[in-house]
């Protein structure tokens, strides 16, 4: 395709900044990228005034800023994380493997991954459902419910754990005792991950072109068909991205599970709590190995989200 012909046309419209569908894949873009294309889908219609970075002198300001940011980021994040991986690599692959496969570490990692997968799946369904009800339904008190969804993000994790233990502890006022059980761990993880899927799906559902559904209806599609063939495919990227975020958060979660899990090795001890124990008993090498395992898992999932996002953007 004639990339060189289409590109100037696109940037002249000012869409190269905000229309990844057109901008990032010029060889897939229609030959005659039209002016009116930018006017349609709301976001793209608003002209971006950002005229590019080229005109800024790359001078002392950039250098000083970049230096500060690099040093800060290195001191706080990069060098410490590097040290964890270094410490873990020092033991060699065999040592690393031994450290994460000790019976208690392996049990904690297994519980964490399985519980997180389960929590991610529940979030996939319930989060989408909650987003649906918040967007498409209306009932008194909906605004308050909408506001409450963010509470798990705002509430300190230890408080979240305490709150759940109060309701589902040994003297549960509703008669449900989940303390020191795996179900208790799952409930704690469900609590802290609640907003992810809701908050990624909700805006997509809000922005979803209602006319698509009306077009499908006038072509003869019933409600279920419209949901399955029109709405769902448009939500899937957001649903999966939210689920992946919920999964990484569940894998990393510590504070909310401390109290409700009771920290019973082989039964309710999740990886982060096990890791905490290893640090407390100065078993740094094993702790570094488990940390590396957790980091790798999270990074793989984040990478998957990124690929997913590109895949979604490509289809516009």
């Amino acid at each position: 395709m004639a990339t060189s012909e289409t590109t100037p046309d696109v940037s002249a419209e000012g869409v190269s900044q905000d229309a990844p569908s057109a901008g990032t894949a010029p060889d897939e873009t229609a030959h005659d990228v039209p002016r009116d294309m930018t006017k349609r889908d709301g976001s793209a219609g608003r002209p971006r005034r950002f005229t590019g970075t080229g005109r800024w002198p790359v001078g002392d300001g950039t250098a000083i800023g970049l230096g500060t940011v690099t040093i800060f980021l290195s001191a706080v994040v990069l060098i410490p994380l590097g040290a964890v991986i270094w410490k873990s690599a020092e033991q060699g692959p065999g040592g690393f493997w031994d450290a994460i496969t000790t019976p208690d570490a392996w049990a904690a990692l297994k519980l964490t991954v399985i519980a997180s997968l389960f929590v991610a799946l529940v979030n996939l369904v319930m989060g989408t459902l909650i987003a649906w009800v918040l967007v498409r339904d209306s009932f008194p008190g909906k605004g308050v419910v909408d506001l409450l969804i963010d509470l798990p993000f705002a509430l300190p994790t230890i408080v979240a754990g305490l709150v759940l233990l109060t309701l589902y502890g040994t003297d549960s006022p509703v008669g449900i005792t989940l303390a020191y059980t795996r179900i208790g761990v799952v409930v704690a993880l469900l609590f802290v991950t609640l907003p992810f899927v809701v908050r990624t799906v909700q805006p997509v559902l809000l922005e979803l072109d209602k006319e698509m559904e009306q077009a499908a209806a006038s072509l003869g599609a019933g409600n279920w068909t419209i949901f399955r063939r029109i709405i769902l495919p448009n939500l899937v990227p957001a649903m999966l991205a939210g689920t992946a975020l919920a999964f990484t958060r569940a894998v990393a979660e510590f504070g909310s599970t401390v109290l409700i899990s009771g920290n019973v090795p082989f039964k309710t001890q999740v990886a982060a709590v096990h890791l905490f124990g290893q640090i407390e008993s100065d078993n740094t090498a094993a702790a570094a190995a488990i940390s590396t395992a957790l980091l790798t898992l999270s990074l793989l999932v984040l990478l998957a989200i990124d690929l997913l996002r590109r895949w979604g953007a490509r289809r516009g």
Binding site: S21, P34, M37, R40, S218, A221, I230, R315
Partner: protein
Amino acid sequence: MAIEIRGVNKSFGDAAVLRDVSVDVTSGSLTALLGPSGGGKSTLLRVIAGLERPDSGQVVISGRDATRLPPQRRDVGFVFQHYAAFKHMTVFENVAFGLRIRKRPKDEIKKRVGELLDLVHLDQFAERYPAQLSGGQRQRMALARALAVDPEVLLLDEPFGALDAQVRKELRAWLRRLHDEVHVTTVFVTHDQEEAIEVADTIVLLADGVVQQQGAPAEIYDNPASPFVMRFLGPVTEIDGRLIRPHDVEIRTEPGEGTSPAVITRVVRLGFEVRVEFTVRGAEGEQAAWAQLTRETVERIAIEEGAEVHVRPRPAIKHSIQIA
């Protein structure tokens, strides 16, 4: 009759959008619902499609009372202003959607979609996603999608409203040709009188939720039922209490029967056409008006700014309205 609308009323909250609207659409015709924005034309189209339910009144499609039918069962094709393309489907899948819902055999779907894509000149774009198409191409895809299920009537809501002027002109002519080929009863909404006059064989002029006039374009243009209709369909000016088209103003150097004295204030040459502005000294004082003349006429009678002339509506004209 393909569509009969009887006494339809529709309100959104306190605002009455359609008031006792009755319209007939003949089979095989191409009808324009014309009117200013907020006049109720889009609502009327959506009532026909079943996307809005009227508060009272009746909608009959091909002799069948459709008032209570959901959109799925009305057998109408609807084309939205903003295309309503299924973003997650290719062009082929978009057009095939209605046929797949109807569980038609694969071969038939393939053949039918192929024909339609040929018809709308999108045959090379079958595997593209809507995001990779231009606005005009998306609109043609939406049209093919609506035609795929052989609807009784085709409804288009401001089909060219989101397109720029050039593409708009091309698609207009193309829609007219397409209709002559396919002959499906078509109703389209527009606020552009030029578009309605150029494309449609019947115009229904809707304003304030009321049908102001309906008929053939030439008939409405020549015999407007009210000053509003006359103003809406083209430029007007006022001479001696009469509303007339500027091209029906006669400018003379000598007084004659029914002329009023006037002074030329400005002459604007727009190529072949010349816009002449003047002040009429009528019975009720001075009044600004203008005339649309050809360059030839202007040169012949040597009109220039400041000249004293005499003006009157051309004696032969039918369409002027006494308003004072």
